[in-house]
């Protein structure tokens, strides 16, 4: 057991930090406000292109697709540094983490040739068409239909809460090809296909983040199907295993906690109450960090990652919440024009326990699979 970084890992982190200080305007978070705003989406294409040119966009991908087969630690160090910097990659983090690798596993040669190189060059944005008005945590009840008509699938239905849909080039879409849990399939849907209407949902989490996507008889060629009909769960499980740790939210939360504490210290406001809560929040961030590291370490050693990934994710949600609440209580002016960066973090933290699977679902998994408590009756 070793809690120190090896020289290669240190050098990799330093290279990312050097890159960020050279390529990220100091106030970029303020300029490109809103993780999926028009400005941020445009910025992400420029920024990811630069990352790609120096080999920092997809280092953990195979050589064939522009990577260098770097280990899971490199992928996570990259994710940590990017998120801590406010995630300048925008929605492209999904391409890098799981959409690209999922296509490498399940895509046809033609699908791979069409979609992977633009991801590796950092010039394309995807969205994920999972949630529906009647299918959130209970994804198996989704209703969007894909009906086969000769060599075409005709897709009809509605997606909701879809992040990045407003500027996405392609959607990783779940649709029903037959009844039942095993009747769900994955389609790669170009967002300029006729019959798609995207509406932004005004929200408290920032400009351009969540959308409704209406699919009105959208015609897709049969080769837009990823894998085989009914393979969605297997594909989703693989995607999930690539993205088990989730976003390293603790990294930005830690940075913002320090930022808030510095504000309090400058104003002579870092008193006993704030010190008590800051200590609790800082420790929770660190716990989430090492929980997440333990998952990366398992992957690095080729071990199966089980419910401890849900525990790591929940630890991260708790840490994010504590920091967010600390700022609300002790630096309340940040929500009213006092500190745009703390505000941006607050907006990101709102979704921590909701996006990519509700935190309560993680608790169910921990209870059943980690603690081995008897299952709930269904």
């Amino acid at each position: 057991m070793d809690f120190d970084w090896d020289p290669e890992q240190r050098a990799f982190r330093a290279a990312i930090r050097d890159f960020l200080s050279a390529h990220l305007p100091p106030d970029w978070e303020l300029q490109a406000h809103g993780p999926a705003s028009q400005l941020q989406s445009a910025f992400s294409k420029k920024f990811c292109g630069e990352l790609a040119r120096v080999g920092l966009l997809v280092p953990h991908w195979p050589k064939r697709w522009g990577g260098r087969d770097a280990d899971p630690w490199a992928a996570f160090i990259l994710a940590e540094e990017m998120w801590e910097a406010g995630e300048p990659r925008g929605g492209q983090y999904m391409n890098v983490n799981w959409i690209g690798p999922t296509l490498m596993r399940f895509g046809t040669e033609a699908q791979q040739q069409r979609y992977i190189p633009p991801m590796a060059r950092g010039e394309t944005i995807w969205c994920q068409g999972f949630s529906e008005p009647e299918a959130g945590s209970d994804l198996a009840s989704l209703r969007t239909r894909a009906e086969k008509e000769g060599a075409t699938y005709r897709i009809t239905g509605q997606k909701i809460w879809t992040s990045y849909a407003g500027h996405a080039d392609t959607c990783f879409l779940l649709a029903r090809t037959s009844a039942g849990k095993d009747g769900i399939s994955v389609f790669l849907l170009p967002m300029d296909t006729p019959g798609i209407i995207v509406r932004q949902i005004p929200s408290i989490i920032g400009e351009g983040d969540i959308h409704e996507v209406f699919l009105d008889g959208v015609a897709l060629p049969a080769d837009a199907l990823l894998g085989t009909e009914g393979q969605a769960w297997e594909i989703a499980r693989t995607a999930l295993s690539l993205e088990r740790v989730g976003i390293p939210r603790f990294a930005l939360a830690t940075r913002m906690l320090h930022r808030a504490v510095e504000t309090l210290k400058r104003g002579g406001r870092f008193g006993q109450g704030a010190i008590g809560q800051a200590g609790i929040a800082r420790a929770a961030c660190e716990a989430a960090r090492y929980y997440s590291y333990s998952i990366v370490d398992k992957r690095r050693h080729g071990k199966t990652v089980g419910p401890e990934a849900s525990a790591a994710r929940y630890a991260t949600v708790m840490a994010e919440r504590l920091v967010s609440e600390f700022v609300v209580e002790h630096v309340p002016e940040s929500l009213s024009g006092g500190d745009a960066m703390l505000l941006a973090h607050h907006q990101r933290a709102i979704v921590a326990g909701i996006a990519s699977g509700a935190a309560e679902i993680q608790l169910n998994l921990v209870a059943t699979e980690l603690l081995k408590l008897p299952r709930e009756p269904r």
């Binding site: 010190i275 420790a283 716990a287 370490d297 929940y314 630890a315 309560e360």
Partner: protein, 303 residues
Amino acid sequence: MDFELTSDQEALVSAIDKLAQRFETKPTEFHGFALVGRELDEELTEGQYFDVAQIPELGPLAAAIVVERLARLPCTAEIALSMLLRPHLPGEWPRPLGLVEGGRPGRFVAGARTVIAIEGDSVSLARPAAAEVEPVESLLAYPMGRLRSCVASTLLASAEAASVRKWLRVALAAEASGLLQAAVASAVEHLTLRKQFGRPLGTFQALRHRMAECAVLAGGVRWLALKAAATADEGDAALAAMHAQESATRIVYDVHQMLAAMGMTLEHPLHLWTYRLKALLAELGGRGGQAMAVARHCFGASA
């Protein structure tokens, strides 16, 4: 960064697991507050396990792993302070160690050959004679004791005192980690076996989610304790003790709710873990004290 155990650490863990087997269950006839593991102490002494931290291939991280493992037992012995703190005391101070804060009753004091006395900012060490200490009856599940009178002691220099506080925090976190895991496991066992409304309590989501949160917190305490032992950094030690006390506050309450009346009995071993945790909750100023240490070492706040 690599969390696989080394072959030396693995060999140690397997030896400790084997040694611990005999002590896994509370003797059915025992109905006391603190179950003192004298035989456990003897076996650890015989196997020279108290020196684990000083062996270069093992070190404080391995010692923390041992402390955490043995804290899961229902019986208690003075292990954490001897393994993690004693190697950092200036000079030779014999074990077992006792801890007195602010003149209040403390852990292991009545049987201690060395007492660490904390009074405000000062830390001193003493070798009390048998007549200078006495046991104290307590609800807590450590053998509690106090100094009868003022004993001759050596006041530590501020750097030495800081080192003592740091390793006390590491020892506290490692011990709390094992206690928390055992308490959670005990509650999980109860929720699995106990039926109400025709089904196991563990099938009710209100309880499942609380236990899952407890398990997540306990897991975090373990990671921070091990990290602090490995890095020997003052900030890491403060964070580990902070998270241990904060999590224990929540978990101790929750596991007693899960066990309900059964957890109040001396027949059930739950209190042997939770009432050690309650003793640890108050040490080094409790959560407020740890938060001050975090402020100093992680946020650069002046003392």
